[in-house]
Structures are given as structure tokens and as C-alpha cells.
Amino acid sequence: MRTRRALLLSLVWIVALAGLGVCSIIGAQKPLELTMFSYDINPNYTGFEDPIGREITKRTGIKLSIEYPVGDPEERIMLMIASGEYPDLIFHKGAGKFVDAGAFIDLTSYIEQYGANIKKLYGPYLKRMRYDLNDRSIYYLGCYGVDSQIWDVSGFELQHAVVKELGYPKMETLQDFENAIKAYMKKYPTIDGRPTIGLSLLADDWRFLISVTNPAVAATGAPDDGQWYIDFETQEAVYHITRPEEKEYFRWLNHMNALGLLDPESFVQKYDQYKAKIAQGRVLALTDQRWEYEEAERALRQAGKFERTYGNYPIVLDERFKRPDLWDPGYSASWGVGISVNCKHKEEAFKFLDWMASDEAQVLVNWGLEGVNYRVENRKRVIPPAELEQKNNDPLYIKKSGVGLYVYPFPQRGDGLVDPTGNTYTTLTKDFIKERYSPVEKQVLASYGAEMWMDLYPQSSEFPLKPWGAAWQIPTPMNEDFTVPLQRCDDLCKKRIPEIVLADPSAFDRLWDNFQKELENLGIHKAEAIFTQLIQERIALWND
């Protein structure tokens, strides 16, 4: 009995050990898993288990396990740096902190050795990715499409119903915008039984910048340079809220509030409340970007309320200014994916990134699998109608198919660029955008004599080249003299601007002047001087 039991036990051991051995042999063929941190959240991420993710693993032997931040990504990053525990790949929006902490490896020699596809994709912009004048290492590969065409504009939004009702009035200045809102609101104080809202703003956390302060920059003809306005002649940076032109924009908002045309909840509402109001179809006007109100608009489309969706108009403060929405800042190359010093498979990680830059990968991530997501007819890539229908209307399409999931933030060809087969790398084309317009939208556009919204805007050829690209991408140093005053000023803006806009118009000038004085006392000029230097260094770096 006893011997039998001992035999049995040893048998179990042998089987277990053999199993282990087999497992380790299989394990050798298991994909290499790389960890990655992404600055931006991606609700569609499937853990690389969607068809496209699996295909990438099949072709490269690599699987990405991506961590997305919960809450403020900056805080997650600061904790990551403090602990020194970096994942293999890091997608950052501002390399300064990582470079200061020595978190990235220099990719220059890897690019020389294994980076054929990367060299082809970035071309002349590779030199823009060098860190700064003192340290010309390349620490990351820039995100966003290289040489992308801008076809999609946002600007100031007005419901189609409003312009239709008023007989398509001229829509150029804030005055036109205001008149339209006022006239329509007077005629229709309620929409579907709920009170009509004139102009609604969104000030929830960082969205404040998108819907409250950036419109002031755009309406006064300046390009989007983040918190900054950069003088073209002197190349000096100023904190853009200090521009006298923008004071007039906020005076207008204040005036709108006094007339009752501004949503009183503008500075209080949370993002979901804002979207809910838009989806109810009772907000006449917005000063927002499409990606922010898109979801709410989709609900209106699904409900068939096309006249409650929005058109985009190039509204400016007055005739002196030109809407800069189509102003191409040029490829700015300062946010992107880097390989950390902790990565144990640096070469494999780099080769993976290089593969992502290849034509083969670009077609795979943008178009999907041939025969499944697209077909080739007469050497042209075509998305079958059934697939297109899903792509346009199924909110879960990206998650289920994986198409488009791994384009950003990896190396990416821009919209409109054509590959050797004569097809565009991305699926976005002018025709594609036009196809998405609703009948009401087409009718409104026709009445304004345009085919696309971008036709109403000053074209990109009218603007000069920006020698510094997009200033909001410039990596800033972790220097207390810069970060602390800037943080304080940003916080002050979020507090004061709502107060000033909601104040009695007679108090506007006094409050605005006080606000400017407070900014000065917080040391904004010191930060401006530091940023000016960064701009000038960047121009020097790009041109040498």
C-alpha cells in the first residue's frame, strides 16, 4: 500500500515536471510582452486582444500591455519618476521631466542601425525630434500624422436651425453670431418644452482651456500656441490672456451674460451635464472643438434631429482678424513614444516601433485586414458598404474590429499622404468627410456657397510658416521659477475669468485690470522670459 502510494506520488511529480518543461518550451514561442504607459486614455483598448492587435503580435512577436492614467496623467507621471519604475515604452506629452530624470534612452544610434522605416516616415522632421541645443539626442518618436492635411475645422458652432430660420445671415463677426442667437432665442424661448440656451461654455477642469480661453485666441486671429502668444516679428512669448485683443473678447462674453444669452451654468456644469444639454437640442451656440461635442451631436443624429446639430463658422472679434483654424503649425514632433532605461528588450522595442512606421503597418492600423475590413478593387482600397455602415454608426466598431486603435500615438503618416500603391495611408479623405454630412448640413453649406465647412475659413496657404511649430508641444524644463508661477497663473485664470464674465458690465474694466495686476504679481513676466528663450532655442535647433 505504502509503496504504491509512493510510486503514485513520484508519478505525479514526473508528470508535473514534464508539464513544466513542455510549458517552458511553448513559453519560448509566446509573444514578448512590452509594458507601456500612455498619457491619453483610450476607452477602446482591448489588451491587444482585438483582431488588429493580434495581427500585430503575429507579425512582430510583440504584445503591448498598456497602462492608462486614472485621473490627472501629470500626477501619475510625477509618481512614476519619483519611484523610478518606468514601463518599457512611455508615451508622453512633454519629455522635459523624463529627460531631466534620465528616464529615456537615446534613439539616435538605433535609428541609424534599424530605423529604415522611421527615417522614411519622418524624413526631414527627424532633426526636429532632437531634444534641445545642449542635448541633441532623440528620446522619442513624434506622435500625430506627419505632413497631415487639415480638412476638418471646428471654430464657433451654431445650430443649423438658427441659420435656416434667419435666412442664412452673414456669419463673420461676434456681432453676427450674437444677433443670430438673440433673434432665434426671442422667437423660440423653449425648445421641446425646455428653456432655450443661447451660448453654453464648458469650464470643467482642463476643458476650460478648450471652450473658454482658446476661443479668445482664435477669435482674435492668433494661432493656437497653448498658454502663449508669440510675436512673429520679435519671437517673444507673452501669456496670451494678457493681450488687449482678448480683453475685448471677454468683454463680449460679459455682455452676452448681461443680455442673458450666456448659459448661467457655463462655469459650473460638468462635462456630462454639458453633453446632456447639447443632446437635448436646446443649446443654440458653442465655442468648442468638434471632438468635445461630437458625442452629444451623435445622439442628435441618431434621434434624427439634424437641424439641431451644428455648423462651424469662422467667427472673429471684428474685421481686422482672420480665423487661424486652418493655419498649419507644421510637424512639431515634441510629443511621442520613447523607450525607457528600464526596458530589458530595447532592441526589440525599437524594432517594433520601426515596424509600426512601415507602410505595411500603416495600412494595417488605418485600414484593417484585407478581405475583412477593406477590399482592393482595381488597385484601390475600398471599404465595403456594410463595413462602412458599421464604422460610421456602431460606437463599438473600433473596439470590436481594432481598426484605428493603434494609429495614435505611434509613428503615423498624415491624412492625405499617398503610399506607393496610389492609395492614401489613412481612411480620412475629403470625400469621406463630405459623405458624413447630413442632408440638412449639405443644404446649409450650399446656402453659404460652400462644399465643406473648411471652405468658409481662410485657407492655410494664406498664413505664414510658423518657425517654431506648435508652441504647446515645446518641452518645458522642471524649473521652479517657471513651473510654479505658471501653475499659479493658470489657476488664477480659471478663477478670475468666470468671475469677470459673470460680473456687472460696469465693473468689467476694473476687474480685468485687477486680474492683470495679479498675474504680474505672480511673476508671469519671469515665466514669459523663460519661454521666449525656449522658443528661440527651438528655432535655432530646427534650423541648424
Binding site: E75, M78, A82, A101, A203, P264, E265, F267, D491, K494
Partner: protein, 323 residues
């Protein structure tokens, strides 16, 4: 007294001391297994509570994460001086203390009253139902609670509608935009969420009171209110004191979840609390040292509050401290 007396006294003293040590070690030896059982927890406390205090050195350095300890530059009290010169710090401190005192006052008295009320309900099924319903909100995350409250208090929200219907208001009020309401809103939200949960411990204490005491009180002709006053309340006194000291010790550690989720730009002057301040001006701008300085300040205040509370309770509690 003679010299010898003094000497013998000293001798006696030495002897007693020796005896005491001997007895001490004897006891120690007898209880060795007990000590062994405590040991893992002692190690745990040292590793997780005391060793991290070493990190406090950071507050006195111009801390850069990628340098080793010896490579850091020492800056002395620079960050503390900066902290105490920052006007915003005092604003934030005020908000922290006011909101925490409010939530202590409400979040402490109401659960006791609630526990007593529940205990007085004779219908068992009804009692259990109320209890369960009341502590369910505890499991709802603050994100959801903040969403509920902002919707309730919105211009077209139920509260405004109710007040308008009742004729108490002529125009809808933007509750969330008024700084002076913010503290109240946070306190009420907190109360709604935690009332039932916080009352559990008091309820448990009430249940453990000897039934005979109530019977005796009844014999003496005490009505329900008298019974509550003379039996229930004294019976839960110790639990009440312990809970009080624990919450006072945590006065300054109120976290920032509720404030962060309920706030908007218009009420920032009333909503920003110390933890959020440390996060924004410490960690977010890579000033780990500054964040640590705020942390040290908080710990010192907590310890002082704890000791004060303990002394006060000692006074009230016939000279026996709870701690």
C-alpha cells in the same frame, strides 16, 4: 534621620530595582510566545510606518528624483518658509479645517442620534430595512455622489423646482456657483453618504448594553427619554470618546475626493483643501520637497490635535485617558 537609615533606604531601593528587573524579565520570558505573536505586527509597523519617515529628509533638500541621497543639495527650511509665506496656503488651511470641523460636528452627532432612534424602533423588520437602506450610500463612490448632487442642485434640478413650486424662491438659484454654500453642500453630501455607516458602531455599542439596566430604569419609573439619557448614552460613552479622538486626530486629513469632484472654478476659494494643494503645487510641478513639507506640517498638526483631544477627554472622563 540617621545616616544608616538613608543608606539602608538606598540599599533597599537598589534591591527593589533589581527585583523589579528580575520580575520584569521573568514575566517577559513567561510571555515569550505572546511576544513572538506580536513580533510580525511590530515589524510591519516599523517597516511601513517608521521607515518611510526617512523620506521626510526630502523636505529639506532640493530634491531631484534621479540623484542618490548623497547627491542632493540641502536647502534647510526653505520650503517651510515658502509654505508659511504663501497666502493661498492659509486659505486652503482654513477650508480644510472648516470643512473637517463641520463634517465632524454633523458626521458625529447625527449618527449617534440615528443609532439611538433605530434602536428605539421595536418593529424588527422595519428596523433592519431602515438600517440597510441607510448604509447603502456608503458603497457608492464619490464620483457618483458628486454627480447626483450637481444634478440635484442644477438650475433645472429637482431642488430648484421644488423651491420654485413652493414659492420659496422667485428665480432658480445656482447653488453650485455660490462659494458660501459650498461647505454646506459638501457636509450634507458627506452626511447623506456616511450617516448609516457611521451609526453601525454606535448601534453595536447600544446593543451590548445590559438589558437589566433598562429593566431597572423602568422599575424606577423612567420613561423612554429618561432611559435614553440615563442608560443608553452613558452606556456608549467610551465608544463615543474613542470615535471622537480618532476623528479629531484625522481632522486635517480629510482627503480631497469630495471637494475635488464637487468643486468648480467659481467656488475654488472655498473648495480647495490641503491635500489638493500639496498635489498641485508639490507633485504636479515636480516639487516633491514642497509636497513633503506640507505632509510634515499635516502630521505635526495631527499629533497635536490628538494629544489635545486625549487630554480633554481625560478631564471629562474622571481622569482616565482613552489612549
Amino acid at each position: 534621620m540617621s545616616r544608616t537609615g538613608e543608606e539602608s533606604g538606598q540599599l533597599n531601593y537598589c534591591f527593589e530595582k533589581q527585583q523589579k528587573y528580575k520580575r520584569y524579565f521573568q514575566r517577559l520570558y513567561r510571555q515569550r510566545y505572546l511576544f513572538l505573536m506580536v513580533l510580525p505586527f511590530l515589524v510591519w509597523v516599523i517597516v511601513f510606518k517608521y521607515i518611510p519617515i526617512w523620506g521626510w529628509t526630502m523636505a529639506f533638500q532640493d530634491y531631484k528624483p534621479h540623484f542618490s541621497f548623497l547627491e542632493q543639495t540641502w536647502v534647510g527650511f526653505k520650503y517651510f518658509i515658502e509654505l508659511f509665506h504663501d497666502r493661498q496656503f492659509y486659505l486652503v488651511l482654513r477650508n480644510t479645517l472648516v470643512m473637517s470641523l463641520l463634517s465632524l460636528l454633523c458626521g458625529y452627532t447625527f449618527p449617534i442620534i440615528f443609532a439611538i432612534f433605530i434602536n428605539e424602533i421595536r418593529h424588527k423588520f422595519f428596523q433592519k430595512t431602515i438600517q440597510t437602506i441607510s448604509y447603502l450610500p456608503h458603497f457608492v463612490s464619490w464620483v457618483v455622489v458628486a454627480g447626483i448632487f450637481t444634478k440635484l442642485l442644477a438650475i433645472g434640478g429637482p431642488i430648484n423646482q421644488l423651491l420654485l413650486e413652493l414659492g420659496l424662491l422667485k428665480e432658480p438659484v445656482l447653488f453650485m456657483a455660490k462659494g458660501e454654500y459650498f461647505w454646506g453642500i459638501v457636509t450634507v453630501a458627506d452626511l447623506w453618504k456616511e450617516l448609516g455607516w457611521n451609526s453601525i458602531i454606535f448601534l453595536a455599542a447600544i446593543v451590548s448594553i445590559d438589558e437589566n439596566l433598562y429593566e431597572a430604569a423602568q422599575m424606577d419609573g423612567a420613561n423612554r427619554f429618561r432611559q435614553i439619557w440615563h442608560v443608553t448614552l452613558p452606556g456608549i460613552r467610551m465608544v463615543v470618546f474613542i470615535m471622537l479622538i480618532m476623528s479629531i486626530g484625522n481632522l486635517i486629513n480629510i482627503g480631497f475626493e469630495r471637494q475635488f469632484l464637487l468643486q468648480n472654478n467659481l467656488v475654488k476659494d472655498y473648495s480647495e483643501v490641503l491635500d489638493l494643494y500639496a498635489l498641485t503645487y508639490g507633485i504636479r510641478v515636480a516639487r516633491y520637497a514642497y509636497g513633503t513639507a506640507v505632509g510634515i506640517f499635516k502630521s505635526v498638526v495631527s499629533i497635536i490635535l490628538l494629544l489635545v483631544a486625549n487630554t480633554v477627554v481625560k478631564r471629562f472622563n474622571d481622569g482616565t485617558a482613552v489612549l
